[in-house]
């Protein structure tokens, strides 16, 4: 499939491995990306805090450029959660709020641009991979399954919330990335924190708050037995990876849970080299975790034969539908 691509500032630099790994795997999954020419920063969560109309106009410029440049696609994708949310938010709010729509377009007109709200479908990269390209297509490309690697799928906040277009099965416990990672052969641990906050910009402006949140996630992943955390967002990666070191200092702990992008794991399973995928640029070294990958699928204990419940057995768990 083809999509317009908004890399965003982070992917260009601090999340370069995310971009590199995406570029490395795109051909395998048949994803053609058309980068928006001369895009600008999305404003992250900061611009909106200062000027509202300007923030939407800043994002509007990207949408307008994308609309004008689009060839054979109306899908606009981004890998960064904040970039994705900003693009999606402006599109949605322009659609729902006629006044905002008019005002933003008036501002865009100053630059000779115009955006028709709703003309693009703004989608996060993971959404495209899971729901459009599909698990089967991904599975078909796996040459080196990630057998034996235990991973915690971490979605963070802004991809699954507020989820303007209803793309995910849950705002709290989504399963798409879990299924994707299983398709790669990895074992996905069950944990309760997959959409809890990584600290966001608090790591810069209020590190103590952020450290607490980072510790909870890292501790939770480790408790659940994960060898690594897999993420889909540059900010989450940065906070959990780079600030893990700072957090350890703060709490006098020594967690070493590496944090990689899902695209990097896809690349590994597709047989790409670690270097090609930007593995090695992370702060917490992923090598020990990746060494656990085995050639054979681990044996799964056979399901226990059903027997008649006896007094003293536990109460049955609720059936999940």
């Amino acid at each position: 499939m083809k999509a317009l691509f908004y890399p965003g500032c982070s992917m260009q630099r601090n999340a370069r491995p995310y971009l590199d790994s995406l570029l490395a795997i795109r051909a395998d999954i048949g994803l053609e990306l058309q980068e928006i020419d001369d895009w600008n920063c999305c404003g992250a969560t900061e611009y909106m805090s200062v000027h509202r109309v300007a923030a939407h106009s800043l994002i509007g410029r990207n949408l307008a450029l994308a609309q004008a440049q689009a060839v054979d696609t109306d899908v606009l994708t981004a890998g960064c959660s904040a970039c994705f949310l900003n693009l999606s938010k402006t599109d949605t709010q322009m659609r729902e709020d006629a006044k905002l729509n008019g005002t933003v377009n008036e501002a865009l007109a100053a630059g000779g641009l115009h955006y028709d709200a709703g003309s693009l479908k703004v989608r996060h990269l993971l959404d495209l991979v899971c729901h459009d390209i599909g698990y089967d297509a991904v599975k078909a490309r796996v040459v080196k399954p990630l057998y034996g690697l235990k991973v915690a799928a971490y979605y963070g906040c802004q991809v699954v919330r507020p989820d303007y277009d209803g793309r995910w099965d849950s705002h709290e416990h989504p399963t798409a990335m879990d299924t994707l990672l299983r398709a790669l052969g990895a074992e996905v641990v069950d944990w309760s924190l997959k959409t809890q906050c990584c600290g966001g910009h608090m790591s810069v402006i209020g590190p103590e708050v952020a450290f607490g949140l980072i510790r909870r996630l890292i501790h939770g992943a480790a408790e659940a037995g994960a060898d690594m955390v897999v993420t889909l967002c540059p900010m989450c990666q940065l906070n959990l990876d780079a600030y893990q070191v700072e957090m350890n200092k703060h709490f006098h702990t020594d967690y070493r849970v590496p944090v990689l992008y899902f695209t990097q794991l896809m690349g590994l399973a597709f047989g790409k080299s670690a270097k090609e995928l930007g593995i090695g640029k992370e702060f917490v070294d992923a090598t020990p975790a990746l060494a656990k990958i085995q050639a054979e699928a681990p044996k799964v204990a056979e399901a226990k034969r059903r027997r008649r419940p006896k007094p003293g057995d536990g109460l049955p768990m609720p059936r999940m539908e």
Partner: protein, 190 residues
């Protein structure tokens, strides 16, 4: 003639609602606290979102705009999706931040300053500039911790994960024109 439902001078609640896009439903708050309970940084806030909304209703403009709460919002949107009244809480936080900056009310300038520094870079280059942002922000507000954070920056540099110079987009003039017009329209929506 207008319907009697909208009457009297604009109170603070109406003002905040008007400045927040879409059907934000702020007037429907039932004070249940699911926002405050869900907030990752709620423990650090001077007022939980719920309490801020009660204060907004009470017309306590100054208290609200001086509160650190909006600045501690990490945009995780838990409150928004969990709110039983579907109030666009995160968006309201953005509104309050913008209002606080405009009114110059928030007492600790570091948090607004972070946002404004970020905005400065974007307006100058069209892209964000992490090194500049971190350095400038920390120099101004946490000069002592700068040294402590230095290894982090160096390591970023070593791993090729940070730029030494900002990247400027080609259409800077166009972007500036758009932003300038946008700022002149800022009041239109409220």
């Amino acid at each position: 003639m207008t319907a009697a439902t909208i009457s009297g001078p604009k109170d603070f609640l109406s003002e905040v609602m008007a400045a927040t896009p879409g059907d934000n439903r702020l007037n429907h708050c039932i004070q249940c606290g699911s926002c405050g309970g869900s907030c990752p940084s709620g423990a650090e806030m001077e007022h939980t979102p719920r309490r801020l909304f009660a204060l907004i209703r009470a017309g306590e403009r100054k208290t609200v705009l001086m509160s650190n709460a909006p600045w501690y919002c990490v945009s995780c949107y838990y409150c928004t999706v969990r709110c039983p009244q579907n109030i666009h809480i995160t968006d309201v936080m953005y509104t309050l931040k913008a209002m606080a900056i405009q009114a110059g009310l928030y007492h600790d300038t570091s948090l607004p300053d972070f946002s404004e520094t970020f905005v400065d870079y974007v307006e100058k280059y069209g892209r964000s500039f992490e090194l500049g942002l971190a350095t400038r922000f920390n120099l101004r507000h946490h000069p002592l911790s700068l040294a402590g954070m230095a290894p982090l920056g160096l390591n970023m540099l070593k791993r090729g994960r940070i730029d030494l110079t900002p990247h400027r987009i080609e259409g800077m003039a166009q972007l500036s024109a758009i932003l300038e017009r946008a700022k002149s329209l800022e009041g239109v929506l409220a």
